[in-house]
Symmetry: C2
Subunit: 732 residues, 2 copies
């Protein structure tokens, strides 16, 4: 709290006089630079022209500011959304062209809002716990406030004093008052919606020279630092920049963070807001970028939509501002290039110039293995991405042992997701939502997000007794998290993370170790997954692999339900799964091969004793066709302690154009559990008739402790929590 105190004092004194405008999005000097560079900078000019063509269509027209009525996707919702974008763009164009028609447009529209806003009560479609006024939820009102504030700042000097007062009192004050008084507890949350609210109030404060607003934005409605922007910077990110809600929502939250920080930095550079918490905003941005697939799509754990990529506007803004404040980074260039546009301030100028100059822009972000802690103090588990290869031949395995992630979190303790060659192999369903398509529940999250997508069975982790983690209780989940036992990420032939959770179920301890291993003579990295479930009582354990692809073969017979289908269960997501086929297997060594795009994948599994296997298809109890018909491969065991040893192996290639299939069969041909108890798990895996041996400790994870393994042919001693050999040679 030392840094906070410092910032608090400076801020208080710095913004105590009326500003020179514009200042919130860009300064006058920035604007001059943009104007100058427009001539010979292709991308900048194109971004400018895009903006101009969008705005020019509205010049001279009467712009509707309708009485709020519709839910998301409906006319009044879309109109107010379009209006705030138009306001900002037109304000910017006024600055960049000096043409009064743009300022006039902004003024006229803001004056209309000055008449409308004081008359508003809660939105008629408000179903949210934080209702909006212009929109169905307050979040959208906060969006409006940010952009309307920025537009006001752009035309500040064009307005007469009376006009400024009218707009400040009429358009802005009712919204700010509503946020900071009526729904004050919402405004003071440590939550992405509240970040938007603070950005709105802060930017309006800067634009209208209202010091009080700025203070509330930075320090909460009580101005005591317990809430507000600084508290959000402290509370929403782990020390290494992991954002509590995961990458999809980082993308969303990062925009108000960067917009307000940028405005604060322009007005009060001495605050060094971008350096706060060891550049936490830089880490946050890069934490989101690292967690994307090769097509730029954010990893879809927690509520997330699969189509959302880093070309989205939020990341354009953040990247350009980051480029300005943190300096040149080659890693940003492929992203900026695929974004294909820049913002019209000095960050945009500088980034677009770099794109123009740089001869060899890499095709991909330089993805590497990463490990993030979760929690403001980094003590609430974490998320690791184990990677191997170089894009586009990149394998990325996400292992999630973090805390819940607020309202958009899923019950997915110890979940894994696998991406390979840019494709999703073991998916996280994400969320069920068609954003802003009115026919689909007003574009909101669909009920199946809760009933299916958030449930444990929708994830590649264990569900005990057909009940989701924490019995699906979000609050309970928020209070708990797994712990990391040991790990090594990013170097050598063996990467590993081991994590333990004893909170998701009262009587079951789950321990999962994920090894990503490079073997000589094997083209692709293999993933070995030790999933131990320990309980004093007997339970049913279900481990799904939510694969995407086509069934190629199994090494066991199964019974297909060919004439009729019923559901796998009745609740907790099971009611959404059609049971397509089932098998009863010995458990010793079961293989399932599927094809995803051009690559074969085989999951080989060894369980303690016999198991049941289910092939399922999502789609039951989905009367509105909200879910995708995706498959799953579920391995069910029953007992007290049940350990799954899984090997996930990409292999071969299928080229449908040249009609050639190579290595369509798995290389793994045996898994033997040598020992599995409270001290040690030791497993030998035959791959191309050579032996991969993995021994891990289950109790003492100290790197210096000496351990022994004596069994049959093996007489091994080593230090630390794990030991790996291939063909009798140590490889870790």
């Amino acid at each position: 709290m030392k840094i906070f105190g410092l910032i608090y004092c400076i801020a208080f004194t710095t913004i105590s006089h009326a500003q020179i405008h514009p200042i919130a999005f860009a300064t006058g000097t920035d604007m001059e630079l943009v104007k100058k560079k427009l001539k010979d900078n292709y991308l900048l000019a194109q971004s400018f022209e895009e903006l101009k063509s969008q705005v020019d269509g509205w010049i001279g027209k009467d712009i509707d500011v309708p009485i709020p009525k519709d839910a998301a996707g409906g006319y009044t919702h879309d109109k107010h959304k379009a209006n705030y974008i138009l306001l900002f763009n037109s304000g910017l164009l006024y600055q960049l062209t000096g043409e009064k028609k743009y300022a006039q447009l902004v003024k006229n529209v803001l004056l209309k809002y000055s008449s409308l806003n004081p008359t508003l009560q809660n939105h008629p479609q408000a179903t949210s716990s934080s209702p909006g006024r212009l929109f169905w939820q307050a979040l959208n009102d906060a969006n409006w406030l940010v952009y309307a504030g920025l537009s006001f700042d752009c035309i500040h000097d064009y307005l007469t004093l009376n006009e400024r007062i009218s707009i400040a009192n009429g358009a802005f004050n009712p919204e700010v008052d509503y946020f900071t008084k009526d729904i004050k507890s919402w405004f003071d949350l440590i939550h992405n919606h509240a970040v938007w609210a603070c950005a709105g109030v802060g930017i309006v404060g800067i634009a209208t020279d209202n010091e009080d607003y700025v203070k509330m934005a930075l320090y909460g409605s009580n101005k005591d630092g317990k809430a507000g922007f600084i508290a959000q910077l402290d509370g929403l990110f782990s020390p290494d920049g992991y954002y509590n809600e995961g990458p999809y929502y980082t993308r969303y939250a990062i925009l108000p963070f960067y917009l307000l920080a940028n405005a604060i930095n322009n007005t009060s550079p001495s605050l060094k807001i971008f350096q706060y918490r060891h550049n936490i905003l830089e880490k946050a941005l890069e934490g989101a970028l690292e967690q994307t697939n090769l097509n730029g799509a954010f990893y879809t754990y927690n509520d997330a939509l699969k189509d959302k990529t880093f070309i989205t506007n939020e990341i354009v803004v953040a990247l350009d501002i980051a480029w300005q404040v943190y300096g040149y980074k080659k890693s940003y260039l492929p992203i900026a290039k695929s974004q294909g546009r820049v913002i019209l301030n000095s960050g945009g100028v500088s980034l677009s110039e770099a794109l123009q100059k740089e001869k060899n822009i890499p095709l991909y972000y330089p993805y590497k293995s990463v490990e993030y802690t979760d929690g403001a103090n980094g003590d609430k588990g974490g998320v690791a991405v184990l990677r191997n290869g170089v894009a586009p031949d990149l394998t990325s395995l996400v292992f999630k042992y973090s805390s819940h992630g607020m309202a958009h979190g899923h019950f997915d303790k110890l979940n894994i997701n696998l991406y390979d060659n840019g494709n999703e192999i073991l998916q996280d369903y994400g969320a069920s939502r068609f954003i802003n398509i009115e026919q689909k529940c007003g574009g909101r999250y669909l009920p199946e997000t809760k009933s299916y997508a958030q449930q444990s069975i929708a994830h590649n982790t264990i569900t005990v007794d057909e009940t989701s983690h924490y019995h699906g209780d979000e609050k309970e989940s928020e209070r708990n998290h797994p712990i990391k036992l040991f790990g090594s990420v990013g170097k050598g032939n063996v990467q590993v993370i081991s994590s333990l959770d004893s909170t998701a179920y009262h009587n079951v301890v789950m321990q999962r170790s994920i090894y990503m291993i490079n073997l000589p003579e094997i083209n692709n990295p293999i993933t070995v997954d030790f999933f131990r479930n320990i309980s004093a009582t007997s339970h049913q354990y279900d481990l799904p692999f939510n694969y995407l692809g086509t069934v190629i073969s199994t090494n066991f017979p199964y019974t297909a339900n060919t004439k009729s289908l019923t559901t796998l269960g009745n609740a907790n997501g099971y009611e959404h799964l059609w049971k397509e086929a089932e098998a009863r297997v010995s458990g010793k060594f079961n293989q399932f091969t599927f094809l995803n795009h051009k690559t074969f994948y085989t999951i080989s599994t060894c369980t303690n004793d016999s198991a049941s296997i289910y092939f399922t298809l999502i789609g039951a109890n989905d009367p509105n066709f909200n879910l995708r018909n995706d498959p799953s491969y579920i391995i069910r065991t029953k007992g007290n302690n049940e350990t799954y040893i899984n090997v996930i192996e990409p292999h071969g290639n299928f080229n449908a154009v040249s009609e050639i299939a190579t290595n369509a069969y798995a290389d793994v041909n045996e898994i033997e559990k040598l020992q599995d108890d409270e001290n040690i798990t030791a497993v030998s895996i035959k791959i191309k008739n050579k032996t991969l041996l993995i021994i891990q400790t289950n109790k003492d994870f100290d790197k210096t402790t000496k351990h022994f393994f004596n069994k049959g042919e093996y007489h091994i001693e080593w230090n630390g929590p794990y030991y790996v050999t291939f063909d009798n040679k140590k490889i870790n």
Copy 2:
């Protein structure tokens, strides 16, 4: 038969002396040209280097020529396949480098085949009616013969006379004898397999200076012209180049056509084989190219695999040879560019030079509306592709009223398929097959091809009484075809094809008219579909729309089968459909909106009286997971005469990245059938509250006949088979 006679005589005399070699794939002069151009032609050099690196890995190694044992996808199958490619490539490299190691490799391998081939009987895995010897089916042996023959030609002068005799007698003669004697009736078919066989025998004939082989290749095993290559050129294409089996198989068949024609053209240019039947081979190639989606994938009607695009080797070879013999065509450049390689003869040189020189290579083939007749005489119906817009914003509707298309044909009379913006909207399932993946039935066609994919219900056309066209009898289907009634393709705002079939069902006449219409104020072309079913007796009619996409909304309530699923029927493909939801509707105006990629599509339907609607999902009775879980929207009526008026309307846009959905609702809001009888069908359609009126005649299709329509507000007189107005203005 005049042309044939001429060719026959010339051929007989021309190839009566020993040739200078090489000559079959390319002449010595060609080879010199390639060598010269390798230095400064990037694509040519790259294609050469690819070939070289493939072959160089085998130099000095003992190449296995195993005793045939495995089915497709197995070791001996893949090895013999790899061998013939290696033989050809190595032979070519000998010509291009002069290095004897390449000739040595070819000689050694061919000598091994000389030992093996005389010992062979039918392949142990032969399940085909035309069994192979090296492979499970004779077709693959024919492939082998083509490439082995080409390789022999390349090293002809390197071989001693004795070696030539050994190889000709040992490697080639048993295969040629087997084809032309043992399975002579297969060799003499007018069928793509036999084209390969003729190409093999012909090329070996040219390579080994065996005039008799060449004659059998050109004129059939009896050398009487009733079979063989010339008869195939006559019999397999319609006068405008439509290949009887459809574009996917044109792609396959075109390679032996072009390879043998090229060899014949080199040895006997006076035959003018490429000019035969008014350049039928040029028309055939372009007929296949026109029938591709923007990603290059061949339209998937008949048995076809969706991944197959024009970058496939067959089209590389055909395109490069066509470029050489038919000359420069800008339309070929985008295809050559996406192929990214050329063949190493003078066609390849010239095409790669053009790619290097041409500054503005278009992104897409210049797709246009096309209409092909089917049948050697063009009198067996046809296929039309109605198009609108310019790629990538191209709408293509395929209307198929052709004959069956041999063994790979489907029971799909009057079927339509819709492609838009490069996406499949109303799909043809294609075939069920994982080519060369051994685990999937040896890579052969899967049983579900016959049980589902070929059945009528798998298509966007009518199934009567749950029985496929012609009761699923291929021979019966082969004997019949629909007829075209009238049409106008490629010009104006109204394109139309009307076709009638009275053969698929004994008691039902089906008449379908497809109108593709451009309307002012409407961004996308709409498709209006009059589907009339006429019978003296009552039947059940099912019209499916095999849409791809996500259900967005319907304007009618339906009952979803949420707890259990059963099949829609028990046979003829119905047993593969899970019945997900059903509705009973009045029939007057039913709308269904779905989202495919970024575009919404609405199907609006008006039926005579009440109808049942089914939402289905493919996947029942599919124990090996061979089928894709694709959806269908099926409209069922019952009665004697049942007319469906359907409007298919692309609209709006959904951008998941910017989260904006526009025009998510259909513009069509009413369909009224004004008249529908043996004389006239007249329909008014309300679109954005304006009226689209379409009147067609059902009896007299003469363009000059005068017709009258007097009903209510309408008093219209016109000439010809159809008349279209929008907002009271004539638009056709």
